[in-house]
Symmetry: C2
């Protein structure tokens, strides 16, 4: 296969200038039936009267409710699309304020940590809702261990069917409000990358640089976030990631690269990024990063409906191996992002699922030279008929964090 | 019931000076058979030939192996106590280096994120181990969804029994190496509390103070940690915690209190702390904090074998209500800490489990005045015949972070 991107020694393709659009308007992102419409369509096809789902991601997906330290919760979706959110009593006021559910119903008693079996209170309340009690056939899905089995006992007169597969398929395509949440988390990752770029100076430690990124993202969010990542420097960066090598107290030196793969969750949706930052000039690392960025853009252009992770991986992998003789590429080429930070679809040889418009994928080519250095870049795209639309560009002008200046040649002349 | 601690207006009891002991020696902590000895004793009683466990906490508990971003893993414990750790191929070298297993066996192929069903590689390797393949009766426990069912198919010729209950009981008592890990995480929490004390100045935001604590703990760890917490100021602090009120961009003011409940995980074990920090003098908050600290110490003295969470809660609750007429106390009085940050036993009305020596509990009295302020303190103790031993005191002189100066009268005169 012919690698159509730039070799490591050429200049990177110029980044397109961001297009300014009115706040909140997204560019070139297709509309499809909303997830509630898709769910009620499925309920109809499967001849189900309602869907009952348990667990934080399901509740966030179907009722837009996500909470730091929330108790077990459930959502019931009627075949007319009406949504009832069931939350712990103490959460009912905030759930009423921030969720998109039509109704919020509390369970349990006041107080935190006093009841070791909150499911014992949650499940009877769910089973007792009119919409549930009058249903003959119910679709059920749960992320809470044991909830499905206990609900089956509480709703013994109804026939139950699994809604897990249907919901997994529905989650693959993101609605506009979900894209906005993913973009917000993605923006925090780029805020962190800007802080990492700033902190990547000779003598700084890996963990110090990591912490600077985490603090910047947290302060930008204005609320605690989940933040995880790889941050490896110099020859460590050739060892790719967490299972093998974890950010530590190694001080970085001039001429080295810092690979930062930063992942953040805000309001229950994830963002994911990778950048390779030079420390006071690192021409070899900068050139590798530029070539990888070209491969990233070439792959992104192929994010169209019908493409598969298998084919995308084959092309991306071939380009990396052609561009970097002797370099290793021992990981996937990307993955879905949404309620999960590493979800379907995947850019790997084994994924033959055809992409659909509205899917969201991170693309992340990398290359690793053992004992010398590693480089990786990563951006997130929405699948459209015209190819992947980078998520910051999709929301350009909407008030989300702007693309920060992360030109890796920045510090070469510094 | 008579409340034997100090009223809110009195001075707090003086803190005992730390006793210096040789590095690594613990004071007054009882020895019991190690968890591997207790597990093999149970295997003998239950006439099982080995135990097969899946999942990160089980693996850390029985083989001392914890990894940021680790793949699915398993441990097999023979009836002689021998331990075989099974990890993803890329993790085998680091697992051999850092785990306490007798043998490390790899599964799968090189690379990250390429295999969407690593259990499909892990389970045959586990089932094929000599110790497993020659076992007639096997105890099984899993934290990985589906692993137990799939193992049952792979080991179809053996009779399987659940080891989940036995392992849950074994986890209640901590061995010396586990106490050391909990103490290390607990030390990070106190490092974060010291940073929070420093940052709690007029005009600082809740999220800024939270972030300062997180950064201090991360830098002290020298590696990424899991860090969660409540940090609420002024009247917000009366709303107790996460489901209702989350740290935000509220600036704190002189005369207010900052309640910081900070929880950190290092090497797979958790620490947990709470403190109430005054902002430039807050006499009412300081007095409440001092009275709560007296109640904390009185409760800790009762952490002896045979005591129950029910009785401890009753006394702690009565003391809070007697000391603070009109104040609310809508949460538990404490909980176990170890591989979980909120595990058995619990200081709540419903927990009648008799405590045993070697159990580890956080005790956390609080009081909340809606619209005005809240206060909470929390320390971790090991249950001993002589009462609870505070974890920093147990490890005094061992190189763990010393008790920081968090005297809340500190900033009154500043």
């Amino acid at each position: 296969m012919r690698c159509s991107t730039h070799p490591a020694t050429s200049a990177p393709p110029p980044r397109p200038p961001p297009t300014r659009r009115p706040k909140g308007e997204m560019s070139a992102i297709p509309l499809h039936p909303t997830r509630i419409e898709r769910l009620t369509a499925w309920l109809g096809e499967a001849r189900l009267d309602c869907a009952v789902v348990f667990g934080a991601d399901h509740v966030n997906h179907l009722a837009g409710y996500s909470r730091y330290f929330g108790g077990p919760a459930a959502v019931v979706v009627g075949d007319d699309g009406s949504r009832t959110l069931v939350v712990a009593l103490d959460e009912a006021p905030i759930a009423t304020e921030i969720s998109s559910a039509d109704e919020v119903v509390p369970y349990g008693v006041r107080g935190f940590g006093l009841d070791l079996d909150p499911l014992g209170s949650l499940i009877p309340v769910v089973a007792g809702l009119d919409v549930v009690a009058t249903s003959h056939r119910i679709g059920v899905a749960s992320e809470l261990p044991g909830a499905e089995e206990r609900f089956a006992l509480a709703a013994a007169s109804a026939e139950l069917a699994s809604a897990a597969g249907a919901l997994a398929r529905i989650r693959l395509r993101k609605d506009a409000d979900e894209l906005e949440r993913i973009a917000a988390a993605y923006g925090l990752c780029w805020t962190a990358q800007a802080a990492v770029a700033e902190a990547s100076v000779p003598g700084a430690t890996e963990i110090g640089i990591f912490s600077a990124g985490e603090a910047a993202a947290t302060l930008a969010a204005g609320t605690p976030i989940e933040f995880v990542g790889d941050l490896l420097s110099g020859p460590n960066a050739a060892e790719v990631c967490g299972p093998i090598r974890i950010p530590g107290t190694r001080p970085v030196a001039a001429g080295e690269g810092v690979v930062a793969d930063l992942v953040a969750r805000l309001n229950g949706y994830w963002g994911d990024t990778a950048e390779t930052h030079p420390v006071s000039g690192a021409p070899e690392v900068v050139a590798a990063r530029e070539a990888l960025y070209g491969i990233l853009k070439a792959t992104a252009a192929k994010l169209v409906p019908g493409a598969t992770g298998r084919d995308l991986f084959a092309e991306l992998n071939a380009c990396i191996r052609e561009t970097f003789p002797g370099g290793e590429f021992p990981h996937h080429g990307g993955h879905g992002v949404g309620l999960g930070s590493f979800e379907d679809p995947h850019v790997i040889p084994a994924d033959e699922t055809p992409l659909e418009a509205g899917m969201v994928l991170a693309i992340e080519p990398g290359v690793y030279f053992p004992g010398r250095y590693g480089a990786r870049v990563e951006e997130i795209f929405v699948v459209t008929e015209g190819g992947g639309v980078e998520l910051r560009e999709a929301f350009a002008g909407s008030g989300l964090p702007a693309r920060p200046d992360l030109d890796p040649s920045r510090s070469v002349d510094a």
